[in-house]
């Protein structure tokens, strides 16, 4: 009996082995290696890496660019997350209703999601271009003067945020649409009979019932607000003067343009810590408020 159970356990562990190996090799080892690297100086052929304790971290605290990209990232997250989620929900409700061109509307909302971010950035680059860009050409019809959207530090981050929302809302819409279709139409009818307005129904019934989806989408949106930097490569390269740079893009720059992997590791550790704290917060605090069916 005991023998059989040992064998059983061994079997279980063997089944887990491939996944465990991959996790170890591609998730845990790199994470730990990054953490370790952040305590060393960047080695070169002439100067080998040496343990420097918290020097990289103190450098970070004094690095103006770090504070700027961190602040940019906060603004980026504060705008992209709620707006793209709200927009996704609105679009989902709209295309879930009885609509003549339902599939066309659904497809056109989802289209941005299917395009690679690099392609999206190239499209928007020509939207934003002063004079010849779509936005300025439309604006000129109404007599609005041309504006250098990406060249102005006051508007560039906003431009980046708009693209991200445009890209993400359609993706999140799909999840909301799927969730909406599991809601029984009887619920809305029951509420209508009681005299509940559409807004009341949305606030008290639909939105609470969509909470599991919202949580899922929220986590994705938060992760993306730190992860989605592809368009920066095409559009602004973080400029002008870091006005549109985000944390991950800065990490890329430090690691591959400055070839300073030690400092890049330091920044990565901070990014990981921030994401971990947010994830824990979401699961611990929001989970209690979510109704799962």
């Amino acid at each position: 009996m005991k023998h059989a159970s040992t064998k059983h356990q061994l079997y279980g562990w063997l089944l887990l082995l491939p996944a465990t190996l991959f996790l170890l090799a591609f998730t845990y080892y790199p994470t730990l290696a990054t953490l370790a690297k952040s305590f060393f100086s960047q080695g070169t052929a002439i100067r080998p890496a040496a343990f420097v304790g918290l020097e990289n971290y103190t450098f970070m605290l004094e690095d103006d660019v770090f504070w700027q990209v961190a602040w940019n990232n906060v603004i980026y997250a504060l705008f992209t997350i709620p707006i793209s989620i709200a927009l996704a929900l609105m679009m989902a409700i709209w295309v879930n209703s009885r609509l003549k061109f339902k599939s066309l509307a659904r497809m056109s909302f989802f289209l941005p999601t299917m395009l690679p971010m690099i392609a999206v950035a190239n499209i928007w680059l020509f939207f934003y271009t002063p004079e010849i860009g779509l936005i300025d050409q439309v604006a000129s019809v109404f007599g609005i003067e041309s504006h250098n959207w990406l060249g102005d530090p006051d508007t560039v981050l906003g431009c980046i945020i708009v693209i991200t929302i445009w890209k993400e809302a359609g993706f999140f819409m799909i999840f909301y649409l799927a969730a909406l279709q599991t809601l029984s139409p009887e619920l809305e009818e029951a509420a209508r009979l009681e005299g509940a307005s559409r807004w009341y129904y949305f606030r008290r019934i639909m939105f609470p019932l969509l909470m599991p989806t919202t949580l899922f989408v929220l986590i994705n949106a938060v992760i993306n607000s730190f992860k989605l930097v592809d368009h920066l490569f095409i559009l602004t390269k973080g400029g002008p003067d870091n006005a549109s740079s985000l944390l991950l893009y800065y990490i890329y720059e430090v690691a591959f343009s400055f070839l300073d992997q030690a400092y890049a590791s330091t920044l990565t550790v901070i990014l990981l810590a921030v994401l971990a704290i947010i994830a824990i917060g979401q699961f611990v605090f929001l989970d209690k408020k979510v109704h799962y069916q």
């Binding site: 052929a45 010849i132 250098n148 060249g151 400029g239 003067d241 870091n242 591959f256 070839l259």
Partner: protein, 428 residues
């Protein structure tokens, strides 16, 4: 079950070892030299075909040498991939990389100087056959580390039709900063700017031209000192900014590198400063009469060079170095250099290339092709220092901060200089 697993793992390991053994066996057995070359191609297509064709010709002439050309994205990607490959023990003997990567590559101990590779007198002469301006970026510590190949400079493209419409002589483009301003004012009207100098992507490069024209280089040849806060440098940036804010002949804020060519082709600007690399595209797509001119002068004419050099990696055998030299010399023969230049629009890297009959004919038919060459006389090295990525970014940020008005040119450049000093101190 465990037993079978173990046995399978064992046989797998055996197979791998055997496989390795076999492949190395073949490589040595043929006694041929196999070279791996990394090559940056930001956009695929024609450039890849041209390089492939050249490599094929080389292999035909040298049957004992095989060349694997690995295309690796833009300059940045090529450098990252080549360095990563070297680190992981993958063999690579040579690569075309950014001409300004020299210090970085030396610091990484990745490359050897050509002076240590050349042997014969003939080879030493070959080393001196290039335009000196194109050699600058590849030379430091009294040695040559990079051989110019895919090189460009900045030139001024201008719309001759727009010049005529504004009452300007289309055959005398602005030759000085003052000319640029006065011509720009005449050319600026509703829907058309006088001039555009791109300030995203590679602002430091464009700025290298402006500061040079004001007779000020941006760094020393040891790559451990910058002159960002020199009065002439600050003046140059003030001039750039004034084109937009004071003279109103250029849009304010930064100007996008990627869409500038389109702006010029659509007539939204009468003049643009851009890489010679755009010449063939502009030639093909311009629906108006256009001209190419040297950049205007303030105290003198000036432009930085740009583009890619050949490097030889340090971890190579004597035999491989010999074969690599053969390859590089083959690719830089005057005839081939001329062919390469005509097909791509990049510079012919040596005077002998322009002396070939084909090139003479081409320049006679299409004079703009000679402008870049003639300008080489005034050209200088592109910004290149130790800690190149960081130093470059300091300057880029300073330029953009000044152009967008968040700092004055003086503040911005002084700040950049202070930080650059901090970074470069330990290399002095």
């Amino acid at each position: 079950m465990l037993k079978t697993l173990k046995r399978k793992a064992g046989s797998l390991a055996l197979a791998t070892t055997l496989g390795l053994g076999v492949s190395t066996g073949i490589a040595t057995g043929a006694s041929a030299v196999e070279l791996t070359m990394y090559y940056p191609v930001a956009v695929g297509g024609p450039l890849t075909n041209i390089v492939d064709g050249l490599v094929e010709d080389f292999e035909k002439e040298n049957p004992d040498i095989t060349v694997n050309a690995i295309y690796a994205g833009n300059y940045n990607d090529a450098r990252i991939k080549a360095l990563a490959a070297l680190k992981s023990g993958e063999p690579a003997q040579t690569s075309v990389m950014f001409s300004i990567d020299t210090y970085e590559l030396i610091e990484q101990g990745a490359i050897v100087a050509f002076d240590d590779v050349v042997e014969t007198k003939e080879e030493k002469e070959w080393l001196n056959s290039f335009y000196p301006a194109l050699m600058e970026n590849g030379q430091t510590q009294g040695k040559t580390w990079g051989i110019p190949f895919q090189r460009s400079t900045i030139v001024m493209y201008y719309n001759k039709d727009a010049f005529r419409a504004a009452g300007l002589d289309p055959e005398t483009p602005p030759a000085t900063w003052d000319d640029l301003i006065s011509a720009g004012k005449k050319l600026t009207k509703d829907g058309q700017w006088g001039a555009m100098i791109p300030s995203t992507g590679y602002p430091y490069w464009m700025f290298g031209a402006l500061s040079m024209q004001n007779d000020q280089v941006l760094m020393n040849s040891d790559g451990n000192e910058t002159y960002f806060d020199a009065p002439a440098t600050i003046e140059a940036l003030e001039f750039w900014k004034d084109l937009g804010t004071k003279h109103g002949i250029m849009p304010e804020g930064t100007i996008e590198w990627g869409t500038l060519r389109q702006n010029f082709l659509e007539g939204k600007t009468a003049m643009m400063w851009h890489s010679t690399g755009n010449l063939s595209v502009v030639k093909k797509n311009a629906k108006f009469d256009f001209g190419v001119a040297m950049l205007p002068a303030q105290k003198r004419r000036g432009t930085p060079t740009g583009g890619g050099n050949f490097y030889i990696f340090e971890k190579t055998s004597a035999e491989e170095r010999k074969a690599t030299m053969k390859l590089i010399r083959f690719l830089t023969e005057p005839k081939r250099t001329a062919e390469w230049s005509m097909k791509t629009g990049y510079l012919g890297t040596k005077p002998a290339a322009y002396a070939t009959t084909e090139m003479k004919q081409y320049v006679a038919d299409f004079p703009p092709a000679a402008v870049a060459r003639d300008q080489l006389e005034f050209a200088t090295a592109e910004l290149s220092t130790y800690q190149n990525g960081r130093v470059r970014k300091l300057l880029d940020d300073a330029i953009q901060a000044a152009l967008t008005g968040s700092k004055t040119p003086k503040e911005a450049l002084e700040g950049a200089q202070k930080q650059a000093d901090r970074l470069l101190k330990r290399y002095r």
